[in-house]
Each structure stands twice: as C-alpha cells, then as structure tokens.
Amino acid sequence: MIAERWINWIVLLGFVVLPLWALFADEPFTITLATRAVILALAAVGLNIALGIGGLVSLGHAVFFGLGGYAMGILAHHAQTYAPLELGPLVIEGTKSMPIIWVTALVTSALAALVIGLLSLRTTGVYFIMITLAFGQMFFFFSISWSAYGGEDGLSIYVRNDFPGLNTLQPIQFFGLCLAVLCLALGIHSRLRTSPFGLALNAARQAPERVETVGLNPMRLKLLAFVISGALTGLSGALFADLNRFVSPTMFSWQLSGELIVLIIIGGVGRLMGPVIGAALFVALEHLLGGLTEFWLVWLGVILLLIVLFARGGIIGILTGKAGPNV
C-alpha cells in the first residue's frame, strides 16, 4: 500500500513531465489532451468540495461550468465584434483578457450557486440530486433557445484570450497556466479541508445533528461550500471554453454533470487528488478506447461498473487500501 501523499506528488509530477516530453517530441496534441484533463480536473476539484467534504451530490454542476463558459464566450464575443453589451443603462465592453473573464466567471457562478444552494439545500438525499438536476435542465433549455448568443450552435471565439505576459496560443503556455490554476485550487481544497470550516463541513456531512448541538448551522456551512464549489467549477468552465475557443449549451447538459461525478468517483471521493486522477484516466480512456472501437462507450461503461462494484474509494482507494468518505 502506498501513502496518499506519495500518490499526490507522483500524479502532479506526471502532469509536469508528460507535457514537457510532448513538447520535445513535438506531440502538441498530447499537450491539448493534458490541458483538457487539467481543466476537467479543476471542475471536479470544485465539485469535490461540495460532494466529497460536504456530501452534496449535485447533479447540476454543469450550470456553473456552463456559466463560466458563457462568461468567456459572451465577453470575448462582444470584444471580437466590437459591440458593447448593453443591459439597459449599463454598458459593458467586451474583453479578451483572461483575468477579467475569470473574475466574471467566478462571481457569476458564485451568485448562481448562492441562489441555487439556498433553494436546493432545503431538500436532502435523492431530492437534492434531482432539484440540482432540474436547475441544470433549466439552464440547458434556456441556452439552447437563447438566440442572441447562438442558441444550440454556440459561440465561436476565433483567437484564444490573452493572459498578461504569456502567449496563450502556444499549447504549452496555456497548459502551464491551467496547471497553475489547478494547483491553486488544490491548495484551496487542502487548506479548506483542514481549516475550522472544513472540519465543521465534514462533520455536517456525517452528523448534522452534532454540528447543530455545538452551535453551528449545518445548512449555512453547506451553502458556503456549495458557493465555493460552484465558483471553482465556473472558473474551469471559462478555461474549458478558452481551450476549445468555443462555448455551447452542451456545457450545461446533465451528462456533463454526470461526467464530473464520474471523474471524482474514479479517482476517489473526497480525496485531494481524486478528481485529478479521475480526469487523467477519463481523458486517457476516452482517447485510447475511442481509437480502438466505435463502441468504446460499452467498454467505458464496463470499466465504470467494475470500479463501483469492486473499487470503493476509487483508484486512490485501491492504491492506499483505504476506503474514502461515505457520501
């Protein structure tokens, strides 16, 4: 059995070495794949705060992913058409600057998470799963028929947005930027987990009545976790949109919410690096199996099934021999 700490460092090291190898071997697509894994991992790290620590099984996190994506799409669209966004008296100039887009994505998805959380946290268990799904579906159908920003066709951005001091058009530089953001999010997760808030949140998942009797409100703890979680997933949405230079309603789809959960479970629920390992494996499987057979989704299904049935605690669970938290 291997200590979790070692696994974490090895995985991070892998994310540094592999793209560097790809750079020298002139395999730019490998870098693109790695970037995709990093961004999906970031989305799942966000979800993991709500799901893994707080026990909130949200089947609607695609809402935040999509909002982040559209924050990027809409701002960059207005910048590339030189037509400011007019909201009544408020006129907003479009921008191609990543930091501004990121802040917009964070704030928008945090606000959405606050509202959705306030309404959804009245419910628990399956009802919570389903009400978050319902919010996801609302955003999905709205975005499909919202013709101002392309509806189902989505929005194409012709050139990737800028980050001061970097040439984001270079795959390796954009990858590095995404990896840095992921590391920051992992830092947040790890600090949060051991902080007084994390302790209380973790207890609120396991024994909410205990948390109440020490004078804390479990619902408010979960709400804050949901907001932080939504904001991080929103940020990943903005990066994902920049990776593809494209946003569309599929970012709001319930399958995407499902995939984020899948990533976390593959890696290990509630583990710091669970989502990262899950995302890496998922992207690798998608790429390798997809190359082997048209019916690769069958095999993906079989692999997922085996993980649920025989590998409680995901990959990290297998490697460390310790089952993860019970959600």
Binding site: S147, I261, I265, L300
Partner: protein
C-alpha cells in the same frame, strides 16, 4: 382558441401524463422498496421498444410484440438486478448513480451494436389506428385512447397489487423495514429481483406502447427518464399515488405550457419573439414546476416527511 381545442389539449396533456406514469411507476416502485436510484430505467424502456419492434417485424402481431417487450424488459431487469444492482442496495446513492449511469452506456451502445444505428419500425396495429370522434366533436386517435386505458389499468393493477395481495404486503413492509420482512420469513433477495423485474417490465411495456407512435432508436430512453424522475420527485419518491398525480401534473404542464405560453407572450411582444420566448420558457416549465414543488415541500407531494 376554441373550447373544443382547449379540451382536446387537456386530453393530450392527460395522455402524455399517463404515458409518463407507465415509466415512472416502475421507477418509484423500485425506489420505494429498495431505495435504489435506477438511471438505467430508460434503458429498459428502450429494450422494450426494440424487442417489440423486432418481434412485430418478424411476426406482424402487435400483441406478440407487447408480450415480447414485457418479457425482454423483465428478463433484462432481472439479470441486471442479480448481476449488478444487488450489490448496491447498501451502497450510497452516489455509487448507485454511477453504476446505473454505466449501465446506460452499456445498454445504449450495446443495442446499437446489435441493431445498428438506424431507427427501427414499429407501427400502431390496424385495429387501433386512425381517429375516432368523441362527444363534443373532438377527433382523437384511437390508439391514444387505448394508451390512456392501459395506463389507467396499470394504475389499478398496481393499487391492487400493493393493497390487496401478499406480495403487496411484503412490498409495503419492505419499504418500511428490511429486517421486518426478513422476520416475516420472506426471501428478500427473491422479492427484490421480482420487484425489479416488475418495474422493468412496466418500463418495457411503456417503451413498446410509445414506440408505436414515436421513434424506436438508441437513446430514446433518456429524455423520458429525466421526465420520469421529475414525475416521481414531484409526487414523492416511493409513492405510486404520487407518481400518478405527478405524471398528470407534468403532462399537463408540458403540453399546455407549450401551447399557452407563446400565446401569452404574444399579448405583449411581437409574434416571432413571443413564440421563441414562450417556447423557451415552456421547455423549462416542468423543471420550474419541480423546483417550486420541492421548495414548498422538500420531499414531494406525497413523500414521507423527514
């Protein structure tokens, strides 16, 4: 808009609701008895439709096709219960979601593997095709009336099964307390397989019945699965009565919303924009309904209070 048209649309809403009920009944039964979230229920619906299309194509008999749908879905249900689901009863909801999500992938692509990528043909039998004239002069397809009748019959059957039979007593006991039915000397795992197969058969029946007027294709189960979940959540998970009322509510909301919301917006917007806005809102309507119900009653209309 004439009264007759409005009445006809209400009938359409009811009919759509009853179709949803066929799907939701099995889902809520399985959740109520075994506490299992079965995302693969839509796949069983698809299995029923494909089995019916295959048998109808080979024999030309719609009744045989229905029987095949029931049997195929029940068998598929029993198999996945024994092979996979059985290991998940004590697992967290999260594991159930993932495992049954995996089953969707396997069923959908497996079906495409076997039947190919093109939709199959399944038609309304000649003795049920065409419209009939209802009192008030409404022309209504006979087949849709038959669907309503089957749906009501299934509702009565389920009521009878749970309220009046030995199995029903066991099922209700199982909802409350697993140890208790063990104490009653019931073989729990057999009961569970049976209930799961019954729920699957209902989904298969729904798939075959609906497949005759819709498209029998891979992935047909997913949209209706989501709606069925909306239905049982509104009704209160585990409650057959809740599923019925939830289904009718969702059916009416979806149908009438699609018609009246665009008309409503035409009152104060120009027609083209009103149609689009109204339709957009209509597609969100059932989800808005569900969130409102849950905000008002966090365990649905007839769900057990926490």
């Amino acid at each position: 808009m004439s009264t007759i048209l409005i009445l006809e649309q209400v009938l359409n809403g009811l009919q759509f609701g009853i179709m949803l009920f066929l799907m939701a009944a099995g889902l809520t039964l399985i959740f109520g008895v075994m506490g299992l979230i079965n995302l693969a229920h839509g796949s069983l619906y698809m299995v029923g439709a494909f089995a019916a299309a295959a048998v109808a194509g080979a024999t030309g008999s719609f009744l045989l096709a229905l029987a095949a749908a029931l049997a195929a879905a029940a068998v598929a249900g029993a198999i996945i219960e024994i092979v996979v689901i059985r290991r998940l009863y004590r697992a967290a909801h999260l594991d159930q979601v993932l495992a049954t999500f995996a089953l969707i992938l396997i069923f959908s692509e497996g079906t495409r593997w076997v039947f190919g990528s093109f939709p199959l043909f399944l038609d309304v039998p000649s003795y049920l095709s065409g419209p009939v004239t209802l009192p008030g002069g409404i022309q209504y397809p006979l087949y849709r009336l038959a669907l309503i009748a089957v749906g009501l019959a299934v509702a009565v059957f389920l009521w009878w099964l749970t309220a009046r039979t030995r199995i029903g007593i066991q099922i209700r006991a199982g909802e409350n307390d697993r140890e208790m039915i063990a104490a009653l000397g019931v073989d729990i795992s057999r009961l569970y397989t049976l209930v799961f197969a019954l729920g699957a058969a209902l989904a298969g029946l729904a798939g075959a019945l609906v497949g005759a007027i819709q498209s029998v294709q891979v992935g047909m189960g997913e949209p209706v699965l989501i709606l069925a979940f909306v239905v049982i959540v509104i009704g209160g998970i585990g409650s057959i009565k809740g599923a019925f009322i939830g289904a009718v509510l969702v059916g009416l909301t979806d149908t009438l919303g699609g018609i009246f919301l665009p008309e409503l917006f035409k009152l104060f917007m120009e027609p083209g924009a009103a149609t689009q806005t109204g339709s957009a809102l209509a597609s969100m309507a059932v989800y808005i309904l569900m969130s409102l119900v849950l905000i008002w009653r966090p365990t649905g209309l007839f769900g057990a209070r926490a």
